[in-house]
Amino acid sequence: MKSLEELKALRDKMRSQTDNRAVAGSDETVIKVGMATCGIAAGARPVLTALLDEAEKRQLHNVSISQTGCIGLCRLEPIVEVFKGGQKYTYVLMTPDKAKKVMAEHVVNGNPVKEYLIGEN
């Protein structure tokens, strides 16, 4: 069973590691997921979990993922906003699979996934 003792060990291990987080790239990508009643009911939680898991798997340290309130387009939830290179991209009607694709193609490789963007729906 996981105990807080293990957390202490993890902390000591992390402190001893050199931090190579900021080296990966200077410009940060910000991702926001709408997490109001409308988003939650439409399935925003699994989408957020998929984004976080993908960031963890790919060791993306220059990506900040957070949640926000109602974006105002409840009909198109779950909505994911990606702020990258000074631009805002609004992905709508998201699913965990679509979220993984956005992480791979847009956040990592820099090519927005056009068919999921709001203008295409």
Partner: protein, 183 residues
């Protein structure tokens, strides 16, 4: 909403929007009594008496984008449709407590769903807020206090991937295992 855990997330989001610094979530179940309770208490800005009275009306909301607010009405309905009950207490400037009780065996009781995932999301996405999550079920009790965790971690943030992975397991083994798939 198809899972009670999503209602917990939704209500806790209200607490966060109310500027809460401390949020307490209690999940209590007694299979002998066929009862289950969810209690969410915060120290946010609270509401005045007028607002509390009409807050479970779906046409009451604090947001500006439209005049419909479904969070509390859905939570209330989830409990009352199982022959359970719902209560909300709030005091302006002090905080709010939302309480729901369910009959576990009632056919209309929604499954609890991914409660552990919701707890993980709440504590890692809101590191500036302290959470105390307690699960009590037939003499067994488990708790997670983010103050304890932050004290151990020191300067290392709660949302670091390695810490998140630890917390995921910690929640599964210390909270979810208490009711283990029975809710």
């Amino acid at each position: 909403m198809r899972e009670l855990a999503l209602n917990v997330l939704d209500i806790a989001e209200n607490s966060l929007a109310a500027g809460a610094k401390n949020i307490e979530i209690l999940l209590w179940a007694d299979f002998g009594e066929d009862k289950m309770r969810i209690d969410i208490k915060d120290d946010g800005c609270g509401m005045d008496e007028e607002t509390v009275k009409k807050v479970t009306d779906p046409f009451t909301t604090s947001r500006k984008t439209r005049s419909v607010g479904m969070g509390l009405p859905l939570f209330r309905y989830s409990a009352e449709s199982t022959g359970g009950r719902f209560e909300i207490r709030s005091e302006k400037g002090k905080g709010t407590e939302v309480f729901a009780e369910y009959r576990i065996g009632h056919i209309d009781r929604m499954p609890l769903g991914d409660f552990g995932g919701v707890v993980l999301q709440l504590i890692t996405m809101n590191p500036q807020v302290d959470f105390l999550v307690t699960v009590e079920c037939s003499d067994q009790k488990g708790a997670l206090d983010t103050r304890e965790i932050k004290e151990i971690l020191g300067e290392i943030p709660l949302d670091t991937p390695e810490v998140r992975a630890f917390l995921k397991d910690y929640i599964r083994e210390n909270l979810v295992s208490i009711y283990g798939g029975r809710l």
